[in-house]
Symmetry: C2
Subunit: 159 residues, 2 copies
Amino acid sequence: MSETGLTFSPEIELRLDEAARLCAERGVTLTPLRREVLGLVLSSEQPIGAYALLDRLRRRRRGAAPPTVYRVLDFLRALGFVHKVERLNAFVGCPSASNYVGHDQGHAVQFLICTRCGRVTETEDDAIAAAIADAAERHGFRQMRATVEIEGICRACVG
Amino acid sequence: MSETGLTFSPEIELRLDEAARLCAERGVTLTPLRREVLGLVLSSEQPIGAYALLDRLRRRRRGAAPPTVYRVLDFLRALGFVHKVERLNAFVGCPSASNYVGHDQGHAVQFLICTRCGRVTETEDDAIAAAIADAAERHGFRQMRATVEIEGICRACVG
DNA sequence: CTCGTCAATGTTATAATATAACGCGTCAAG
DNA sequence: CTTGACGCGTTATATTATAACATTGACGAG
Ligand SMILES: [Zn+2]
Ligand SMILES: [Zn+2]
Ligand SMILES: [Zn+2]
Ligand SMILES: [Zn+2]
């Protein structure tokens, strides 16, 4: 008789509600499937690969297949709710997507990838962005976006 | 009766000779296979994928298989002769590998990826590297390396 | 010489990541 | 009612990368 109930932690459900609100603002829909995938990404301590996501998704959705998850990831990335970490071929939730609405084309973002614990921290460093913009301009290059992924050992792991 | 002759342009053969010299200096060998793969990468105007490389390699080496090319690429990357462009899952020759010998762990490098013509330019921008090092330090992050890939339209394409 | 060892490559199979192409149901505009 | 956009299911395939084991040839120890 009950609805499906909370699938994710209360904090994450809040973020999902916020994401739904932002979707509505833009005339798109955070469908149950999209909400579930986003919830799974946000629930992961580490970047999660498309197929790991697919495995978890299948526990609730029988018919899920690769296109299911890739399509949803495309949608979530286009809205700035999720980023891809290229070095890992894996996906992370955007921590600022719930706070700020200018992320259509994605903000200028950098990742700190800990090779020890596997965690990834997202930053938005203006100095890096400026240095990149400057270098691009000096090369007569019309920059559209930049991937910045810094690998090393995070504060927690380095002790 | 003649030897195989020049497989690549004279400029590239010169760079291959230089690479062989650098290998010898470090106690490793630029075998014919490795030399040929490096030549193919250097001959490509654009980043080249492992399987495109494999196709070209097979014209001369019958038995070539994926491990053949991936092993050689690992070798060439470890020596700094070749870089991987993560956004493209493709490989480029390092333009400075022939001039400078400190590339064992790879120099701090950035790529300008033109989404129009597909060409990739390698840069070595100290300001970007410094901004990244600074941001990492502020996060208590012990940086090992960084991937910086800037996408846009190159000077030639933007006209 | 002959054996052991190592680097390099060959060889077969498979894993991991990603997309193409088509179909089907819903829903709202016209 | 028809049409078209959207969301998703479904099947098949493409693309990228690695695991695991075999073979070859060079070279030094004995
Ligand atoms: Zn973000
Ligand atoms: Zn860590
Ligand atoms: Zn380089
Ligand atoms: Zn261009």
